[in-house]
Each structure stands twice: as C-alpha cells, then as structure tokens.
C-alpha cells in the first residue's frame, strides 16, 4: 500500500517505513486513506464486491444453518468429525451473520455511499447548469439530420431556432438559445435528468432496505406456540414454546392479546384419485381479545392469511393431532389426563408421540411411540398409516418407568424421551410386547405399574407470532428501489442541438444532432420523432431528395 501511495502522490517518503519526521507520515496516512477510499468507491470494486456477495451467499444454501435448524447443524458436525468443527469455526453454519459475509455487504454499502453521494452532488449541479454549447460539427453526432425550409415560408434562421426551442421545450427538454441574432443561431437542449435521479434513488433505497433489515433484527421478536383445540394463548414471554427476541427488544412492548382455538378443520382431497389425501384447506376458528379486558372477537386464521394485533401478526404454520390420554399410576390415581401433542412426520400424518407422567406414584411413567390417524396392516404385517383423516386412530407405544429427571431444573425437550436410567416395561422386542391402543381402549401396564387410556382426539395448530417493525421500511424502500430502477433504465438522457442558417436561394437550412448519455437505444427513434415534428411545423423539404 505504501508503495502505491508514493506512486500516486509522488511523495519521496514511503509511508510504510517508520519515520522520525512527524508531518510526512501523516500525509502518507491521509494519502493512503484517500487512495483506499478511491479504490473502494470505484465501479470496479463495486462490481467485485457484488460478485463476491453472490458467491458468499451460496454456502448458506449448501450447509445447514443454525438460525433455522440448530439440530441439523449439530447432527452435521457429529457426522463430519473433521470438516464439521472447521466449518463451524469458519462460520459456515451461520453464513448470514458471519464476519466475512457481514464484511462483504458492509464494504459494499460503504462503497455505495461513497459512490452515490458525490454523484448526487454532481448531478444536483448538472441539473442547474445550462445545456452544453453547440458542437461545431453536428454531423459527427450519432443521430444527425438536415432539412430545408422553403423560402416561401418566410422563416429566418432565428425564428426557426425559436420555433425549434419551443418544440423541444414541449417535449420535456431544457433549452437554451445561442447566437440568437447572428447568422448561425442555435439551440442546445437536454432532457432525461430523471435517469440519474432514478439511479441515485435506487442506490439510496438499497441503503434504506439494509437499515430496515437492521431494524427488524434489533426491535422485533419471533416466537412459536402450539395451540390445542380449546387452548388459549396469551402473548407474554412465559406462554411461548420458543421465543427469539431482537437484540434490542424490550418485553414491555409486547401486545397483550390472547387467542383461543375454538375449532380447527382440515379438508383433504377426496375426489381426485391421483392426489387423494392431499391437504386442501386448513381453517382455524379462534376467539381473540386485544387485551385481557377487551371484547372477545370471533376470527378465522388460515394459511396465507394471518391475524393482526397492532404490529404483531399470528401465522398458521403447522397442524397435527393431539391424542387425549389418561395415565393412571400404580396406586390407581390419575397422573395425567390431557391432549398430548404428536409431531407429524409424513403426508399421512404418521406422528411421533412422547407421553410423560411425572406425577405417577410410586414410580414416574413415560411412553414413546407413534400415533397413526388411519392405521391399516401393511403387506409385511406392520401397521402403517394410509390416510391423514382419523378413520382408524391408533397409538403404538413402548412404556417405561423410572425417574424422568424433570425435577433437576435442567430444561428438557417435551418431544423426546431420554431413556437412560429408565426401565422398559413394554416394547416390541420384550415379551410384554408393544402397546396398541384403539380409540377408547385402556391398557393395563405390566407389574401393576398403572394403565393408559386413549380417551379421544383433538387437533392442534402451530402458530408463529412475529413482531417486525422493519418490514414497513423494507416495503417502502424496496418499492422506491423498483421505481428508481425503472427510471434509471428506461429514461433516456439525451442532448439535442439545432442550428439554422440562411441559404443564398432564400431557403432556411436547419440541421440537428442528437447525443445520448449512457445506454439509449431509442435515440434513433427520438431523432425520427423530432424530424417529423419539424417537418410538420415548417413543411420542410429534404435537402437530400429535392430537385
């Protein structure tokens, strides 16, 4: 870097060398900064950073990402004992918040600011300046034409130029007439300043989108909740199954609304043979309140149609079955009687279920297995699911007794059962066999440990609750970006010059030339349009064709 600085500024001092002179190195430092800044804000760097950003985004689609599924990441690291930890160290599992990804987009945006601010200043000046002086040889311009106004029209070169200026003005050009009363009056005109305005608007709007992203990440929150029919959700921290706050989120901002799931109905495809059983409609009927003492309201929550509470939205993102089970312990007391959420695994709603009864005496009881809404016997004698509707619901369970370890204060996952330290009572490989429960059946556990009853079935919904104050900004700025882009790409910035002179035979000769700034494939069309306007106005003849 020091060398380059020397080259550019022509200084004798190499700034990379330590020096006892105080002033020169500081100049070198400033020079270096200026050099780096100039490099960073160059078009070439912008292009390079853009392409780098594209490349850097790709790993996020190839490797599992922590923010989305942390469990998959852990599994991946376990499966790849050598590469995994390295990938982790290099932040390949958190690509979009990694140091390198952030560095690229921050540099890009610094470059953007450094690029557009001077350009904006320059353009502001350009918009106030006069159209540039008329070139000597209009014929050198990419679009050129000449015409003759017949002598009978009584036009002088000056009046022709006045006419031309008026015409151009009407077409949106900014015009300036020069050399008005000389033999060669001319008009200079320019239009399309909005092209550059659009370009600047587009780039500034991108900064706005980035800021909106940051606002979303700082002040928003996002959480999940599973709600069984009849259940109620109140929007406060303890009600959530999982909760991800923004970095600067304040709990007091949470809207105190509540939702009760009254009924959830599902429609599956029944007519078409080829798509039989495909879901067609999920509809949740809910009763909502915007505050604890507010009027309850009946509302409908559907996929693609969230509920809104001020700036907080509730989305229907999942559903499944919650079999209602009653577990009695060895002493005959009810240890558990409630709907237990089963996790859907496939399109036929085969679901895994874990039932924990820590209140059972003398030993705690637990069950793990499957819930199948329509159980049929498959070709190999196995029970398989054949339909997502509950036509023949079955619970297939293994049972355990022993300390579930729930009292130790360590958070445990309700959807998994750690069987270490537990003693198995039922299982397909044991003599006791697995538990198979049809609706309303009860199974007596071996060794007098208790019983389990499949009492009924409820449906549940999974909802996402999000509060995202950045989304409005993102929408506004990205709309502005599209507007700016349209202006930038499709407005032509053009200059037109027209010059007139008197021919000795009394005709007034007019010539014009057009020049585009930047890409403008419609310049030719504009040349033609102007020509026909002039022809109409002056009834001109073509000096090329006449006689």
């Amino acid at each position: 870097m020091g060398n380059t600085v020397k080259d550019r500024t022509g200084q004798e001092q190499d700034s990379s060398k330590p020096s006892d002179d105080v002033t020169l190195p500081s100049l070198g430092f400033v020079g270096t900064l200026r050099f780096v800044w100039r490099q960073l804000t160059s078009m070439r760097t912008a292009l390079f950073l853009l392409l780098l950003l594209a490349v850097a985004s790709v790993p996020g689609s190839l490797f599992p990402q922590r923010p989305k599924n942390p469990a998959t990441v852990d599994q991946y690291i376990e499966d790849h004992p050598v590469a995994g930890p390295w990938l982790d160290r290099l932040q390949f599992f958190d690509v979009y918040s990694s140091v390198w990804f952030s560095a690229i987009y921050l540099l890009l945006f610094i470059s953007l600011v450094g690029c557009v601010i001077p350009r904006a200043a320059q353009h502001a000046k350009a918009m106030r300046s006069k159209p540039p002086r008329t070139p000597r040889r209009l014929s050198r311009l990419p679009e050129y034409g000449a015409m003759a106004i017949p002598a009978t029209a009584g036009m002088t070169p000056s009046s022709a130029i006045e006419d031309a200026a008026a015409l151009l003005k009407k077409r949106g050009y900014r015009v300036q007439v020069r050399d008005r009363d000389t033999a060669r009056p001319s008009v200079g005109a320019e239009r399309g300043f909005l092209k550059e305005v659009g370009n600047l608007l587009f780039h500034f709007a991108l900064i706005g989108v980035l800021i909106s992203f940051a606002v979303s990440g700082m002040f928003g929150y996002r959480g999940q909740k599973i709600l069984v029919e009849g259940g109620t959700f109140v929007n406060n921290l303890v009600s959530y199954d999982s909760f991800t706050p923004g970095t600067n989120f304040v709990t007091e901002w949470m809207d105190p609304f509540s939702i009760r799931l009254d009924d959830f109905s599902v429609t599956f495809e029944r007519q078409s043979k080829s798509n039989y059983g495909q879901p067609l409609d999920f509809t949740a009927e809910v009763t909502t309140k915007t505050a604890p003492d507010a009027q309850p309201r009946q509302q409908v929550l559907e996929v693609n149609d969230p509920l809104s509470f001020n700036a907080t939205n509730v989305y229907l993102v999942g559903n499944g079955y919650a079999p209602v089970v009653t577990v009695r312990d060895g002493q005959g007391n009810v240890a558990l009687s409630e709907p237990v959420v089963a996790q859907v695994q496939d399109a036929s709603y085969t679901s895994t279920i874990v039932i924990k009864a820590p209140d059972a005496q003398p030993s705690q009881l637990s069950f793990v297995g499957l819930f199948i809404p329509t159980a049929v016997t498959g070709p190999d004698g196995q029970t398989v699911a054949s339909d997502p509707d509950p036509l023949n619901p079955q619970l297939l369970l293994d049972s355990y007794y022993g300390d579930l370890g729930l009292d130790k204060g360590v958070p445990t996952n309700v959807y998994t059962l750690d069987t270490t330290g537990l003693t198995q009572l039922n299982g397909r490989k044991l003599d006791t066999g697995g538990i198979v429960l049809q609706a309303n059946e009860t199974y007596q556990l071996p060794e007098g440990k208790g019983s389990i009853t499949f009492e009924g079935l409820k449906r549940y919904i999974g909802v996402d609750i999000t509060h995202d104050p950045g989304k409005y900004g993102a929408l506004v700025f990205s709309s502005l970006a599209v507007l700016g882009l349209l202006m930038s790409l499709f407005i032509g910035r053009r200059r037109v010059w027209i010059r007139a002179g008197a021919h000795e035979d009394g005709r007034t000769m007019v010539e014009y030339g057009l020049l585009a700034r930047g890409e403008d494939y419609r310049l030719k069309g504009e040349g033609k349009a102007l020509r026909s306007l002039f022809d109409k106005k002056w009834l001109t003849t073509n000096p090329h064709k006449e006689q």
Partner: protein, 373 residues
C-alpha cells in the same frame, strides 16, 4: 375445487403434440442454419463481383446504399453552404459515413442487419421454422390453458406446471420479439431449450392435475410466479444471445487476425456488438421483473410465514441470481468489463436460474419444498 381429470388428460396429449411440433420447428431452424452455408457462399461470390473486395458479404451492399443515400446528395446539394460554412459545421455527414461503414473497427463477417431488422433476403426454412413454431405455440397454449381449466386455477402450482408454462412463455416471448426483430438465428437455440423444458416436464416430472396445497393458495402465487416465469423466459433469450456473442467474438478476432473464422453458419448471426446491445436491453427489462419477483416473494413470505426474508434455500438462490445480474448491469458500465465478461456474467446468471429451478426444487429441503415432485 372440482378437478376435471379427463380434461387434464387432454392437456397432457396436447403437451405431447406441442413437443412434436416444436421438434419439427427445431428441424426447420436447423436446416436454415445448415443451408445458409451454401447459400451465403453464393451470395458472397455475387457480392464480390459487384463490390470489389473492400467489403465481405452482402452487408457491404446495404452499406453501399446507405452511402449513396446519405452522403452523395448532401455533397451534391449542400456545397454552397458547406463552402461558406466549413468552420461552422453545416457540412453534410460525409465524415460519418466512413464511421458507419467502418463498423467501429469491428471485423465482422455477419450478414445480419446491425439493428436486427429483417432484410429482404428469402429464407424459406427459417420461415417454415417460425410458422411451425407459431403452430406449436398454439397447441402448447391449448395444453397449458386446458391444464389450468382442468385444475380450476393458474397452471403453475408444481414443477411440471412451472416447466410447461415456462416453456410456453419462452416460446411466446420469442415469437413476440420476432414480430419486431429478426431473431430467427436464435431459433434452434430457443426451440431447443423449449424442447428440453417440455421433455424434462413430461418425462422427468409428470404430475397429474391437482388442487393447490394451502401454502400455495394465495393471489401472490399468481403475481410472484408469473412475473418470475416471464423474467426467466427473457433471461433464456439473453442466455442464448450471450453464448452466440462469445462465439461471434472469437470469430471476429480470427477474422481480424486474417484467419478463417470457421462455423460459417454463424454468419447468419449478428455481430457480437449487436448481440450484446440487444441482450442488454432485454436483460434490463428482465432484471426489473426479477427485482419485482424478489420483492413479491418477500411480501408473500411475510404473509405466509411471518418474515419477509429468512435465507431459505430458494430465497438465497433468487438473491444470488439478482446480485449476478446487478453485477452484469454494473459490468456494462465498467471499463474492461463490457463485451465478453458481461456475456459470461449473463450466462452465469442463467445457469443459476436453471440451478434454482432444477436442483434447489428437487434436492434441497426448505420451506419452498412443495414443488410437487
């Protein structure tokens, strides 16, 4: 929600017929290319006799008329003024003609019109190609429409439908542009791609007509996907043009170096610079549409999943494509990056689109994985 399965089967039949018809069109365009070798050689000889040796090919003939039209009369009519005003610049465009016919120093042997307009030359095979393409498009349209009617919704709810509707739009956009510009040189390329898309759809991912899963039941499906399909169709055209541009650039370099350029059929194809300019214009439109696709997708994601951007696999690739084409637009404004490098960026962008459609939909899991496969 009634599905008309009988109509759905007719749709599949139409789709097959359309593919067969495209195959004939493909053959005709191929014939046009192959035949051009002989024909152009003959034209060349004739032109050589007329014009001396300064200009290769019949384009010199048209350049010759331009010269005659523009310069000569002016020189003849304006001398009085020119004599008086030589300093003021009311001279005729004499200096300009030299530049025009010089072609900016571009050594191209292309016989195509620079602004890609139709010339007087008769190309029977190409005409048949266009007519048969129009016929195939009609059958194809019937197939897609009957699919949509059979399902009672827009025909782009799964991969089979994306591919078949996408192919329809590619063919339609091609025919539409053909009414204004002579892009028949793209025929083999574009119809070849349409055929690949149709075959991939009908053989690789056949899907019977069905209703939409709830996640797709949104008017955003109509907006977001239709715009994405149109943008992709435009990118398909520019991809083909960029590939041809690269080939043409090599041939022009060979010509400039006095070597035989090879691939004589490429003389049907416009000069590299013309290809680049038209591709840029189409890419500009497609980029705006893609930007809109990205935005509409974000709005839909906000409505369906509660976040407008979540770096889902599909979102990542849509973003990558957007950035690559933003890079392309920048490249066109960066010295040293126009021409060949810009063409490579355009090709890269298109390969990302293919990847996004073919690989991301099938191999990756994400929220968008309801591709219907």
């Amino acid at each position: 929600m009634g599905i008309n399965e009988a109509l759905g089967e007719y749709s599949e039949l139409f789709m097959l017929l359309a593919a067969l018809t495209y195959l004939i069109a493909f053959g005709a365009f191929g014939w046009d290319m192959a035949a051009s070798n002989r024909k152009l050689a003959a034209v060349n000889r004739r032109a050589g006799q007329q014009n001396g040796t300064t200009h290769p090919g019949p384009r010199s003939g048209s350049a010759g008329t331009v010269t005659a039209d523009m310069a000569d009369p002016v020189r003849a009519k304006a001398p009085a003024m020119a004599a008086r005003t030589s300093h003021e610049g009311l001279t005729g465009p004499g200096d300009r003609v030299a530049r025009v016919s010089g072609g900016g120093g571009n050594a191209s042997d292309s016989v195509a019109d620079e602004s890609l307009l139709y010339t007087a030359e008769r190309r029977t095979a190409a005409r048949i190609g266009v007519s048969v393409t129009a016929l195939a498009f009609t059958v194809h349209l019937a197939a897609v429409l009957s699919r949509g009617i059979a399902a009672g919704r827009v025909p782009w709810g799964n991969m089979y439908e994306f591919a078949t509707t996408g192919a329809l739009v590619v063919a339609g956009v091609f025919l539409l542009v053909l009414t204004r510009r002579d892009l028949r040189f793209l025929g083999t390329f574009v119809i070849g791609l349409v055929l690949i898309m149709l075959m991939a759809a009908t053989i690789g991912m056949p899907t019977p007509v069905g209703n939409l899963v709830p996640a797709l039941q949104s008017y955003w499906l109509i907006i977001h996907v239709s715009v994405a399909v149109i943008a992709s169709a435009l990118f398909t055209l520019t991809f083909a043009m960029s590939v041809l541009q690269l080939i043409q650039t090599r041939r022009e370099a060979a010509l400039a170096a006095g070597q035989a350029p090879g691939m004589a059929f490429m003389r049907r194809v416009p000069a590299a610079l013309s290809l680049e300019n038209l591709a840029y214009r189409i890419n500009a439109v497609a980029f705006v549409l893609w930007t809109f696709t990205l935005m509409a997708g974000a709005i839909w994601a906000e409505e369906a999943w509660g976040r407008y951007w979540g770096w889902d696999t599909k979102e990542v690739w849509t973003f990558v494509i957007w950035v690559v084409f933003a890079g392309y637009l920048h490249a066109r404004a960066t010295r040293g990056w126009t021409g060949t490098r810009a063409a490579w960026l355009c090709i890269t962008g298109y390969l990302c689109i293919i990847f996004n459609f073919a690989v991301v939909n099938t191999l990756f899991t994400g929220l968008h994985s309801y591709s219907g496969l």
